[in-house]
């Protein structure tokens, strides 16, 4: 371990010792005492401790809360997507039900797409989903969203960049 590693390590330890139980409590309070609060507190520290650099923090609790809020939002999004997905699956005939493993993979991928498209305006998002997942033609998407075909093309270009090229920088 190099000396800068050692400094980082000590800093991380201090952060954990001084703020872990506070963060767990903060999350429990916001999530109505759900068990998952403890996991998210753990995940928050994991993000911080595995990041490439750990800055000297003036407001460590605000910093931790920022990350925890993002993880909490992701958690609820994931639950909502999962619920919607399972509801649709429940309407399918049994023979077409994907295996639990396939369902898990699909959910992972859906959540990733969801996060990637998070930055786009609602219509661009919808255009991308209709084209990519429903296989709809651009003219039909244009009619449905009440925009020109050209606008659909512009939405698509933005969405393709966000979804296929942009790298995620935070959880």
């Amino acid at each position: 371990m190099s000396s800068s590693d050692a400094v980082l390590h000590r800093r991380a330890e201090t952060l954990y010792a001084e703020h872990h139980s506070w963060l767990a409590g903060w999350l429990r309070h916001r999530m109505g005492g759900e068990d998952v609060a403890a996991d998210l507190a753990q995940d928050t520290f994991l993000r911080v401790l595995t990041s490439r650099e750990l800055p000297l923090l003036l407001e460590p609790r605000a910093f931790l809360a920022t990350i925890a809020r993002r993880l909490m939002a992701n958690h609820y999004r994931r639950e909502a997507i999962e619920r919607a997905y399972l509801e649709i699956l429940a309407t399918l005939p049994e023979a077409r039900m994907p295996s639990p493993e396939d369902r898990r993979l699909v959910l992972e991928a859906l959540c990733a797409i969801d996060r990637a498209l998070d930055t786009l305006p609602a219509k661009a998002r919808e255009a991308f989903l209709l084209a990519q997942l429903e296989g709809m033609k651009y003219e039909d998407i244009a009619a449905r969203l009440g925009v020109t075909t050209r606008t659909v093309g512009n939405y698509m270009v933005r969405a393709v960049q966000a979804c296929f090229f942009a790298q995620e920088h935070s959880a």
């Binding site: 910093f63 809360a65 997507i81 989903l129 033609k137 093309g153 960049q161 090229f165």
Partner: protein, 332 residues
């Protein structure tokens, strides 16, 4: 920390990509998707691809992302992402406003390895098939029979996930990938390559690694599991939480690359289990036949001929119940 797509770093094949190139590639992609592309467009697109290796890399990346997306396509996937958005839009907007206001820290680096998880592997071979796959960094992977791998160049590493079967990896040395470590991942552990040629085979309860050149480090899954650095010409077995050396690599470890099955005084049961990897269906043998020993080099291209050879070399009876069910027994 920003949530904007504009200004976000662009990547293709694990390496940074100029935003301009990402946008151009996206425009071509959207043009082709729209169905409005003309022959002239297609010619212009080919010129664009050929004009710059980065263009080609961007297009390659898009084509693969597109293939992954197609596997998801369908009503349930669309509904899951679209319907709940309409229901949740408001609450979410509030959440992100609060989030942005509180944003103070630097970007937290956390590569999402599962970003483009897909249902079927990126590269596969059928039973009896063998195939080479060349990666952009110059690495060549040879897939043995009934094998599936995923390739991810992102998050600062070159990751090859062996889902099933067996591969030989000859690592490439393209300069721009020099700082990205190359790893092979299986259910049981990770093999970290240090300029090298090695094979990895996935079994039901362990992963088998054989090293032919260079060096590799093996890390079994499980907290606190000890790693193992393998020397040239040696083999190792990786199971749950444990990596152990298993002696020198024999002829058999390399023979499949030439399309052969090598046996050196091998129990027939083991030999037939090997052979059945290369042919559809089941080969079963009784206990007495299974204990007989066999030696030789056998061509894998025609497994029926190998079975016939077994019948000549050893005192066994070979019965084909169906083309997919072969029974080998010692005469009683």
């Amino acid at each position: 920390m920003t949530r904007k797509a504009e200004g976000a770093a662009m990547y293709a094949g694990g390496l940074p990509l100029a935003p301009r190139v990402a946008e151009e590639a996206s425009r071509w992609y959207v043009l082709f998707m729209s169905g409005a592309a003309t022959d002239e467009d297609r010619r212009a697109w080919r010129d664009w691809c050929a004009a710059d290796p980065d263009h080609e890399r961007a297009w390659d990346h898009l084509a693969r992302a597109d293939a992954r997306m197609r596997e998801l396509a369908g009503k349930p996937a669309y509904e899951a992402l679209s319907r709940e958005r309409r229901q949740q839009g408001r609450r979410r907007a509030l959440l992100s406003a609060g989030f942005l206001a509180a944003c103070i820290g630097p970007a937290i680096w956390a590569a999402d390895r599962n970003r483009w998880l897909r249902l079927s592997p990126d590269f596969t071979t059928a039973v009896g098939e063998r195939r080479d796959v060349d990666l952009p960094d110059g690495t060549r992977i040879t897939l043995n029979t009934d094998t599936g791998i995923d390739v991810r160049f992102e998050g600062g590493e070159r990751l090859i996930r062996l889902r099933r079967g067996e591969i030989l990896v000859a690592t490439g040395h393209a300069a721009q990938y020099a700082s990205m470590p190359l790893r092979v991942e299986t259910e049981f552990g990770r093999v970290h390559a240090l300029g090298t040629r090695f094979s990895v085979r996935q079994g039901t309860d362990a992963t088998h690694v054989a090293l032919f050149d260079g060096a590799v480090e093996i890390k079994p899954v499980g907290q606190g599991a000890a790693g193992l650095v393998l020397a040239k010409g040696q083999t190792a077995k990786v199971s749950e939480g444990r990596a152990q050396a298993t002696g020198p690599a024999g002829e058999a470890a390399m023979a499949w690359l030439r399309g052969e099955l090598a046996a050196d005084n091998m129990p027939l049961a083991e030999f037939l289990a090997e052979l059945s990897r290369y042919r559809p269906g089941v080969i079963s043998c009784d206990e007495r036949a299974g204990r007989l020993r066999i030696s030789g080099l056998f061509p894998l291209a025609d497994t029926d001929r190998v079975l016939a050879a077994v019948g000549r070399l050893l005192d066994v009876r070979i019965v084909r119940r169906t083309p997919y069910w072969v029974v080998v027994s010692a005469p009683g």
